[in-house]
Amino acid sequence: MDDLYREVIIEHYKNPAYRGKLDPHDISFADNNPLCGDHIQIDLRVDADGRVSDARFDGHGCAISQASADLLIESIIGKPLEEVKKLNKASVLELLGIDLGPVRLKCALLSLKVLKAGVYGLGEAGDDLVE
C-alpha cells in the first residue's frame, strides 16, 4: 500500500516533466476514465523514420493516472511507433514499479489506452488495447 504512493509516483504527479500540449502535432487523442472522470490527452510528433520525436500529455486525475502518463511519455520519446504499439499492461506496471488492484489499474492504464488509440487512429480508447 505504501508502495502505491512510492516517492517516484508522488514526484511525477506533482512535478510532471511532460505535461503540456504540442502544436503542431502528428497525432492527438483524448479520452476519459468513466469510473472517476480522469481525463488524458496525448499529443505526438512523429519523424520521417516513424519514431516519436516528441510527446506531451495533458489532463487531470489521480496521482496514479497522472504519474503513469508522465512515465509513459518519458519512455516513448525516441521510440518507433511500431514499438509503442507493442506496449501493454505489463509495460506500464513496470514503469510504475508497483502492482495494482483492478480499480486502480484502470487509472494506471488510461494513458496507454489513449496513446494506443491515437497511434492506431481509433475513435475510442478501449480496454482491449492494453491486454
Binding site: M1, L4, Y5, I10, K14, L35, C36, G37, D38, H39, H60, G61, C62, A63, I64, S65, Q66, R104, C107
Partner: protein, 408 residues
C-alpha cells in the same frame, strides 16, 4: 428518543470486521449502499431454509407461505411511506429500474415530440439517462432546474420553466452528493399547478427521512432497498392508483398477465401488471425486514442522529486547511459530506483512507453534470447512517491529515 448506537452497531456484524490485520472497518459509504442488520440477513436466510417456493402459483404449503411473505413485505413497505394501498407498490430491481419503468410505460404512452420534462442539475445519472434516451427516441425536450452555489435548487428559475407547461417534473428528494434535502412538497405542488405530474427519486430520502407520499402528493416515488438496510436487487415504485392503472405494462411475461392466448394477452391487475417473471422473493422478504428494523429504530430518531453526526463532521472537516466542502449548511442537508482536498485527487484520498480501514467513496458519484457545474472532476464523499459515531468522524479527520502529510 436518542439512538443507542453502541447497541445498534451490534446488529451489524460487518462493522466488527477488520480490513487488514488490526484495522477495524470504519464504514462511511452508506449513501452508496448501507450495511445490513442481522434481522435482514436472518429473514432471508430463514426464507431459504424454510419457505422457499415460487409465488402466485402452486397450492402447496411452501408456495402459500412464500406468496404470503412476499405480499406481507409489500404491505410493510406501503405503510412505511404511507401509500394508500399496497397495490400501489411495484417491486422493481432498484430506483433506477423504477424510474425507467415510468420512462418506458407512462412517458412513452403520454409524451410526444416537443413535450417538456423538467429535471434538475443535481440528478443522479439514473434520473438523467432514461430521459436522454426518450429524447433521442421521441424528441421530447429537457430543461434543468439550476443548482445555486450553495447547493440548493433555484426555485425562481423553476417557476419560469413551469410557464412552458411541462408534462413532468422528475427530481431527487435528496442529493446523493450535496446532501441537499429539496423542498419536495413545494416542487410537486408547483408542478401540479402547471398541469405536470411529478416523479421523485427517493433513493437517498427513504432510508434517512420520514417520507409520506400522500402528504407530498407525489405521483410517482422511486426507491431502493439496499440503501435502507435491505438487500440489493430489489426496490420499489410507488404510483398513484389512477396513473398506474392507466399505464401499459412494462415488461411482458409470467405473473403480469390475467390471460394469455396464442396471439394476445390481457394484463393483470395492480401491482402484478408491472411484475413480469419470477421476482426477487427472498429480497422482498429482506426488504420487509429492513422496513421493520428502521421502524423499530424510528425514522425521526435516525434523522436526528444523522443530523448530529453530520453537524460534527462538517465542523471538523471545515477546520482542515485545504478541504473544501460542497453542499448547503447542515440544516438543509442529510448525512453526506462531499469534499475536495487541495492538490490531491479524491481517488488518492480514498485509497489512503482505506489503509486505515476508512471506507469513503471517490469519484463523480454518478452525478457527472453536477461536478461539471462546480468545475471539479470528482469529490471524496463520506456519508453517515444510524450506526456511525463521532469517533468515526475523528478517524476520518485524522486520516485526511495523513493524506496531507503524504502529499506534503
Amino acid at each position: 428518543m436518542k439512538l443507542n448506537v453502541a447497541e445498534i452497531r451490534k446488529d451489524f456484524p460487518i462493522l466488527e470486521r477488520e480490513t487488514s490485520a488490526g484495522v477495524r472497518l470504519t464504514y462511511l459509504d452508506s449513501t452508496a449502499t448501507s450495511q445490513k442488520p442481522l434481522a435482514v440477513i436472518q429473514a432471508m436466510d430463514d426464507f431459504y431454509r424454510m419457505s422457499n417456493a415460487n409465488i402466485h402459483r402452486g397450492v402447496h404449503t411452501l408456495a402459500e407461505e412464500s406468496t404470503a411473505m412476499y405480499e406481507e413485505a409489500r404491505e410493510k413497505i406501503a405503510k412505511f411511506i404511507n401509500a394508500e394501498s399496497a397495490r400501489q407498490i411495484i417491486y422493481t430491481r432498484n430506483t433506477t429500474e423504477s424510474i425507467n419503468l415510468v420512462a418506458y410505460s407512462w412517458a412513452r404512452a403520454n409524451l410526444k415530440q416537443g413535450d417538456l420534462v423538467i429535471l434538475t442539475e443535481m440528478e443522479h445519472h439514473s434520473n438523467l439517462v432514461p430521459w436522454h434516451m426518450l429524447q433521442a427516441e421521441r424528441g421530447i425536450e429537457l430543461e434543468f432546474i439550476p443548482v445555486t452555489e450553495d447547493g440548493l435548487l433555484d426555485l425562481e428559475a423553476y417557476k419560469s420553466l413551469l410557464d412552458r407547461r411541462p408534462k413532468l417534473a422528475s427530481f431527487t428528494h435528496m442529493s446523493n452528493v450535496l446532501g441537499t434535502i429539496n423542498p419536495t412538497a413545494e416542487i410537486i405542488r408547483l408542478a401540479h399547478e402547471a398541469g405536470a405530474i411529478a416523479l421523485v427519486d427517493g433513493a437517498q430520502s427513504v432510508p434517512h427521512l420520514t417520507v409520506d407520499v400522500q402528504a407530498l402528493d407525489a405521483d410517482f416515488y422511486a426507491f431502493s432497498a439496499h440503501k435502507m438496510c435491505g438487500p440489493t436487487g430489489i426496490g420499489a415504485l410507488y404510483g398513484k392508483a389512477a396513473l398506474l392503472e392507466s399505464m401499459p405494462p412494462f415488461l411482458g411475461g409470467g405473473d403480469m398477465i390475467k390471460e394469455v392466448k396464442l396471439r394476445s394477452f390481457r394484463p393483470n391487475t395492480l401491482p402484478h401488471k408491472f411484475e413480469a417473471g419470477t421476482p426477487a422473493i427472498a429480497e422482498a422478504v429482506g426488504f420487509g425486514a429492513a422496513v421493520d428494523y428502521l421502524t423499530k429504530m424510528g425514522m425521526e430518531n435516525i434523522a436526528a442522529h444523522e443530523h448530529e453526526i453530520t453537524d460534527y463532521a462538517l465542523e471538523r472537516l471545515e477546520e482542515i486547511p485545504g478541504v473544501k466542502l460542497f453542499g448547503p449548511s447542515s440544516d438543509k442537508k442529510g448525512g453526506v459530506a462531499a469534499f475536495t482536498l487541495d492538490g490531491v485527487h479524491p481517488h488518492d484520498v480514498a485509497q489512503i483512507l482505506d489503509k486505515d480501514g476508512i471506507a469513503v467513496r471517490a469519484g463523480h458519484h454518478c452525478a457527472q453534470p453536477l461536478h461539471e457545474k462546480f468545475g471539479i472532476p470528482a469529490t471524496s464523499r463520506a456519508s453517515f447512517y444510524l450506526y456511525n459515531t463521532k469517533e468515526e468522524v475523528d478517524l476520518l479527520v485524522n486520516g485526511i491529515y495523513k493524506v496531507k502529510e503524504m502529499f506534503g
